[in-house]
């Protein structure tokens, strides 16, 4: 347990700096983009000079960039994410409304790609170079090469428009007043297509990684020893080869969480899922700096937490990890 705690402490200190850099970097990037929130707003409404001045003043955009950054950081220090100009609501509320949808989408997609990917990887890696291995490797490579939005559109056309098995989008049925299990089932039905679109693309990664890892492990001496002991092939595959090839996949899981967040921007748009990714896209288009900063911050925290969990899991899975910290 102490090993995990030490790891946690070191990580938390580092994270604060990472977050600060992320916030300032994003702020400067958005500042460098031409046009501000008022420009984005009047693009859809029009308005005269007086109105534009009034809006700039009301949204605090008549202040210098440095003042705004300082104000933002000061508020952030008090855990206040500020007010969104797009929604005229506290950013905390806007984000909290969308976060569960994104977490659900990402979590399910990660579970799908990791679970199915590693299972198929074991299946393929059980006999490297065999027919099943070839078939799965080519199939997964093809899937990996497909752009996410395209896969999403194909799934919509086949399963929502033609077969009508699943809804074309959204997170749940509109104003259906469903509660409890009914509602959960409804949400699950809505998630099938977006989770598949997002999950299947990353599935290939885990599959190939598992397979490659296993091919490596097969050549190790202890496998030979296990064979010599007369263990069944099944036990060698699952208990020795797959188990040792699993570790890099866990690392990948942490790294992929950031990728998955990026991928969900596209999938959320295609499937009209009201999540963080789509919100981020809207925030950029509207030049809603505080909202985008809020989203990036939450995403960064999310990625840091996931990686931390992965590290802790790693420490438990592999006794060698963290041994140096524990000794220090």
């Amino acid at each position: 347990m102490t090993r995990a705690l030490l790891l946690l402490r070191r990580r938390l200190v580092g994270s604060v700096f990472v977050l600060l850099i992320v916030v300032i970097g994003t702020f400067l990037l958005l500042e460098a983009a031409p046009g501000d929130a008022v420009d984005a707003y009047i693009a859809s409404t029009g308005g005269d000079a007086g109105m534009i001045e009034l809006l700039r003043h009301r949204w605090g955009l008549d202040q210098s960039a440095l003042t705004r950054l300082a104000t933002y950081l000061w508020a952030l220090l008090h855990l206040d994410l500020g007010q969104s100009v797009t929604f005229s609501r506290p950013i905390r509320d806007v984000i909290l409304e969308r976060l569960p949808n994104t977490l659900l989408l990402m979590g399910s997609a990660t579970a799908l790609s990791f679970g199915l990917g590693s299972a198929l990887g074991i299946y393929a890696g059980a006999r490297p170079g065999g027919f099943r291995d070839r078939l799965l490797s080519i199939g997964s490579l093809a899937l990996y090469a497909v752009p996410g939005f395209w896969l999403g559109l194909v799934l919509i056309i086949v399963f929502a428009v033609d077969l009508r098995w699943f809804p074309i989008g959204g997170i749940e049925s509109i104003a259906s007043a469903k509660t409890g299990l009914d509602r959960a089932a409804d949400i699950a039905r809505h998630l099938v297509l977006p989770v598949s679109a997002l999950g299947f693309i990353y599935l290939a990664l885990y599959l190939r990684m598992m397979r490659a890892g296993m091919a490596e492990v097969w050549r190790q001496d202890f496998v030979l020893a296990a064979r010599a002991k007369g263990l069944s092939r099944r036990r060698i595959v699952l208990g020795h080869v797959a188990r040792n090839a699993l570790l890099p996949l866990v690392t990948m899981l942490g790294l992929q969480s950031a990728q998955m967040l990026g991928g969900s921007v596209v999938i959320e748009s295609v499937f009209s899922v009201p999540g963080l990714g789509r919100l981020a896209q809207e925030a950029v288009a509207a030049r809603d700096t505080p909202l985008l900063l809020g989203i990036i911050l939450v995403s960064a925290v999310l990625v840091i937490v996931i990686n931390l969990l992965v590290d802790i899991a790693y420490a438990f899975l592999d006794p060698r990890v963290g041994a140096s910290e524990a000794g220090a």
């Binding site: 919509i156 009508r164 989008g169 104003a175 899922v273 999540g275």
Partner: protein
């Protein structure tokens, strides 16, 4: 067909027919509207302010016109193209200093309070004039609104204001909101801006951000037996392909404002049960315009502008960019406008040889590489068609030796580059014609507009004659004389080319054939839908 006498036998035959084929679309004779049902509509964006009295834009009206009503709405057969809503009659004084509105009796706000002339006075003076994007121009001389009784509102103007202009502005600019809701606190921060309270056929029920808006039937609506629908849902579908899929999968019944891309219309029109409708947008005309920065020495030369006008094949643009769903333009007023349009203006036939000759005459001969000069071209990003026309224009200009470099921006960056920084030579813009040139059209060529005002003359163009004409028209009270001045205006713009009008287009609706009373007024998508009903 609506005159058919319905006998017992035909009714029986009719119902047998219905039983035989439930998929049969609209039967010929007039049907009695059915009550009830939920209409699900595609929405591509979520306006941040739903108060149409503050933001008079189509994106806002699409949703809030069902909740908040204007004094009058556009109509195909009404006098002056108007049909009464909250006002039952309107009359302008001969001196142009006042307009008297008689208001509808027995109208209630959604919270049960009675609607009176005080609400109209409040909306006009506290919102339309000081806060509304368009009202700030049209109502700038509005001084007071007298309310002699609860159902009369008299608008008093400081300077003579043409009644014709006020009349034409009624559908777009005069959404009335309740005084008792808005009189306390800051109007811009009132929660009712995001959950509007109005007098319309539908009440605002809820907004789930990123998912949908839900409107429900107003049981106390003043229209007899209206509305027919129980609910309207606006389902937010941000992806451009999803509206078509949702229609096919029968998850939505209507996609307005060309939510289904033009390229998909041909396919979708063959899907059984779906109709493609081009009617119902007659008063919502967008104009495809080449905006010109007259600060560029080459573009300040009329011959160069004429050459560019001759280099554009308008028929090709209509056919290829708009797939035929548009009309070629001759000047700053669209052809489909019933009051002001004149075809009697200088025109520029597609003629590359002539364009080249004009450029030679102007002294811009081709260099060794075949190029005369380079330009920066910024197509507005709001529509697929403006972007595609940008691509076309680049090629059209290449044919006359002008090397146009495309700069593609998103909305915010485009607005800043063109209207504030003037960092463009040519831009492609889609201004809207709003029924009267004084609302948002003359501003496109008039001089003296401060930097940063979008959809206005930011090209540094100044023509004293044209400015004088615009000023004169803005204070001419006699409608015939005023119309004549705007015809003169069209001629002058077409002759001097402060900008180049290329085409005019509007939107397409795709709708299930079970939705009845679609497109029955010239601003249908942004009107009240009180008489819309569902067959199934």
């Amino acid at each position: 067909m609506s005159e058919v006498t319905i006998s017992r036998r035909t009714v029986l035959a009719g119902s047998a027919l219905l039983l035989a084929s439930t998929a049969l679309p609209t039967i010929g004779w007039a049907q009695t509207p059915k009550k009830g049902g939920r209409l699900v509509v595609a929405a591509d964006s979520e306006p941040r302010n739903l108060n149409p009295a503050i933001v008079a834009s189509n994106g806002v009206f699409f949703i809030s016109s069902k909740i908040v009503e204007p004094l009058a709405e556009a109509s195909f057969d009404g006098k002056d193209g108007l049909g009464p809503r909250l006002a039952t009659s309107w009359e302008g004084a001969a001196d142009g200093l006042s307009v008297t509105f008689k208001l509808r009796e027995g109208v209630k706000w959604h919270d049960g309070k009675p609607f009176t002339s005080a609400d109209v006075a409040f909306s006009a003076l506290q919102i339309w004039k000081p806060l509304q994007n368009l009202g700030r121009t049209v109502f700038k001389d509005l001084e007071a609104v007298d309310t002699p009784d609860e159902l009369t509102a008299v608008f008093k103007f400081a300077r003579p204001t043409p009644f014709q202009l006020i009349r034409n502005a009624l559908p777009v600019l005069t959404s009335v909101v309740p005084k008792h809701v808005y009189e306390t606190g800051k109007i811009e921060e009132n929660p009712a801006n995001n959950a509007p309270i109005g007098t319309g056929p539908f009440k605002f029920a809820e907004h789930k951000p990123g998912e949908y808006y839900r409107l429900e039937k107003n049981g106390d609506y003043w229209g007899k037996d209206q509305p027919y629908l129980d609910e309207i849902i606006y389902q937010v579908l941000p992806d451009r392909t999803s509206a078509a899929s949702a229609l096919e999968a029968e998850e939505i019944q209507l996609a307005a404002f060309s939510a289904v891309p033009l390229a998909d219309l041909d396919r979708i029109s063959k899907v059984p049960g779906l109709k493609v409708i081009t009617k119902g947008y007659e008063a919502l005309t967008y104009q495809l315009v080449v905006e010109i920065n007259h600060r560029r020495k080459e573009l300040a030369d009329l011959k160069v502008r004429q050459a560019i006008a001759h280099a554009i094949d308008r028929d090709f643009v209509v056919k290829t960019v708009f797939l035929g769903y548009a009309a070629t333009a001759t000047g700053p007023v669209p052809k489909n406008d019933p009051q002001f349009y004149t075809a009697d203006v200088p025109t520029y036939a597609f003629d590359v040889a002539k364009a080249n000759a004009l450029l030679d005459e102007a002294g811009y001969s081709r260099g060794d590489d075949g190029k005369r000069f380079s330009l920066k071209l910024l197509p507005a990003p709001y529509f697929n068609e403006t972007k595609q026309f940008g691509d076309y224009l680049r090629q059209a200009l290449a044919a006359i030796g002008i090397d146009a470099q495309l700069v593609n921006n998103d909305s915010a960056a485009h607005i800043k580059a063109v209207y504030t920084d003037h960092a463009f030579d040519l831009a492609v813009g889609p201004p809207v014609f709003r029924g009267d040139p004084a609302i948002s059209t003359t501003i496109l060529v008039q001089s003296g507009i401060p930097d940063g005002v979008p959809f206005s003359n930011q090209g540094g163009y100044k023509n004293d004659e044209l400015d004088a004409l615009i000023a004169k028209a803005s204070e001419t009270l006699d409608p015939a004389a005023r119309t004549e001045l705007y015809r003169e205006f069209q001629k002058k713009v077409a002759a001097d080319l402060p900008l180049i009008n290329v085409a005019e287009w509007s939107f397409i609706s795709v709708v299930r054939d079970t939705v009845a009373n679609v497109a029955n007024n010239p601003r249908w998508a942004v009107s009240n839908w009180a008489d819309t009903w569902l067959e199934a």
